[in-house]
């Protein structure tokens, strides 16, 4: 095991629950839902579905109108989250120090889908011949990462991982490896998604995995681990962590939220959409081994659980397989019940919530699971009802399992847990 440790020194988030990490976490713990009925006014055919929208986020206020107009929404959400994490870590925005080895690892699944869609609309519907000149650089999947690298003067690795719903978890994992190996003293890591383009929504509807709902039921349409679960809820959002060499963080007196202690990944290599508990368990075991962590240390798991019929129970089986007898005692919750599924951003949201939870001794509950927990999802200590506060957490895992079979697990330790 490497002697070098990795500290989480900054957290940022824009989510359907709030425009900052702390606002989002407070809303999560308070049991609020960020999911609403979404009925896009410009849809060519009527469309209404539950969705998580970052209603509190104002891009013009965040960037100024001129700058905001040059960014796809996935970049707007991601840059806002990244800059918040940076400020939160107490790092200066401009490079007044050598940052040639510092880097960024970002995750997004669909990238600049809204810009692509605007372009297709101009070409096919409006009959235009020309597209706006920034279409390419707005829509590309690494736009968000590059904007952050430019703004923060990060001269090392700047890479974007596109691994469907595991994108940002893998980005954080890869950034973790770079810090632990000594390749980078500081990495900004996270991900963002803005998937509510008409065509993207229609594509997800065609896959028949979206939860139905009307204006009244939408806030509770995302039902992970519940008997009445009927699919996932698409959501937009972004989150970021600042990962830093532990000794460096201590030396500069940075607030250390938690330690990122391990990262495990695997591929189901079986089916594009049906997850495998075996593949997931291998990622869980790999993360524990990487962190030199025993199942006994794990007090909380932020589950991937998206609210699909098959996926949630398979994840519980994976936890049981990987954690053994400890699984039944481990607090598990699915925060997607409160904010929906941010796809490529999901792993970063889960990581940010978990880091804040470890730091504050708080465990969010799975919204709605108190009344309707599915016996098929039994086997772990589901957190239902009110969130728990004032608890001592030693270590926590976050799961991100993607279509395509890619699995990513991050293992965090509370500061001073060892």
């Amino acid at each position: 095991m490497s002697a070098r440790r990795v500290a989480v020194t900054g957290v940022g988030m824009v989510s359907p629950l709030g425009a900052t990490a702390q606002a989002s976490f407070e809303a999560l713990l308070a049991g609020r839902s960020g999911v609403r009925l979404h009925a896009p006014a410009d849809a060519p055919k009527p469309l209404a579905l539950p969705a998580g929208i970052c209603a509190d986020f104002d891009p013009a206020a965040a960037f100024g109108r001129a700058k905001a107009g040059t960014l796809d929404r996935y970049s707007q959400l991601g840059i806002a989250a990244g800059l918040e994490a940076w400020r939160d870590a107490g790092l200066a925005p401009a490079a007044d120090e050598d940052r040639e080895a510092w880097g960024i690892a970002w995750g997004t699944g669909v990238g600049g889908a809204l810009v692509f869609e605007r372009g297709y609309r101009d070409l096919f519907i409006s009959g235009r011949e020309r597209l706006p000149p920034l279409t390419v650089v707005q829509a590309m999947n690494n736009a968000c990462a590059s904007h952050l690298a430019i703004q923060l003067g990060l001269g090392g690795s700047c890479a974007t991982y596109s691994v469907a719903c595991a994108s940002s978890a893998m980005a954080i994992g890869e950034a973790f490896r770079r810090v632990r190996s000594g390749a980078a003293p500081v990495m900004l890591a996270g991900g963002s998604e803005a998937p509510l383009a008409y065509g993207v929504i229609r594509a997800w509807l065609a896959l028949q995995v979206l939860a139905p709902g009307d204006a009244e039921s939408a806030p509770r349409a995302s039902k992970p681990f519940q008997r009445a679960r009927a699919g996932l809820v698409l959501a937009e959002g972004g989150a970021a962590l600042v990962l830093e060499d532990w000794a460096r963080a201590e030396q500069r007196g940075a607030r250390i939220y938690a330690e990122l202690a391990g990262y495990g990944e695997s591929c189901d290599h079986g089916n594009l959409v049906r997850p495998s508990s075996d593949g997931q368990a291998r990622a869980l075991r790999a993360a524990l081994a990487d962190a030199a962590m025993t199942p006994q240390e794990v007090d909380y798991v932020n589950a991937h659980a998206t609210g699909t019929r098959e996926g949630d129970s398979i994840e519980v089986a994976a936890l049981a397989a990987a954690l053994g007898a400890r699984a039944a005692e481990v607090a598990v919750s699915a925060t997607k019940a409160s904010h929906g599924h941010t796809l490529g951003g999901a792993g970063a949201l889960a990581a940010a919530f978990t880091v804040l939870g470890l730091h504050q001794g708080a465990v969010p509950a799975t919204l709605g699971a108190d009344a309707d927990l599915d016996p098929e999802c039994a086997g772990v200590a589901h957190v239902t009802g009110a969130a728990r506060r004032g608890v001592r957490l030693r270590a926590a895992l976050t799961n991100a399992f993607a279509f395509g079979g890619s699995n990513a697990v991050l293992a965090f330790r509370a500061r001073g847990a060892d």
């Binding site: 013009a60 960037f63 100024g64 109108r65 001129a66 700058k67 107009g69 040059t70 235009r128 020309r130 706006p132 000149p133 920034l134 650089v137």
Partner: protein, 78 residues
């Protein structure tokens, strides 16, 4: 004389600033306009007025220069 209203309206909508109140010398950079957003804005103006900005046209640097450019395009509107 060209009608200045479209230029002011466009800048008001696009940048959220009332240029009538601003000095014509106000730097666009100070309003958050960089080379990329200027590219996008020039394209939008071309689309709006159906006129192509000559490639040799120097990019406007101040509010006054931007207003002048928009007025010129509006006047040239076919």
């Amino acid at each position: 004389m060209a009608d200045p209203a479209p230029a002011y309206r466009y800048i008001q909508e696009r940048l959220g600033v009332d240029v009538k109140a601003a000095d014509a010398a106000t730097e666009l950079a100070g309003l958050g306009v960089d080379s990329l957003s200027l590219l996008e804005m020039v394209f939008e103006m071309e689309e709006q007025f159906g006129v192509k900005v000559d490639e040799d046209t120097p990019p406007p640097r101040s509010c006054g220069e931007l207003v002048a450019l928009i007025e010129r395009l509006a006047a040239a509107k076919p």
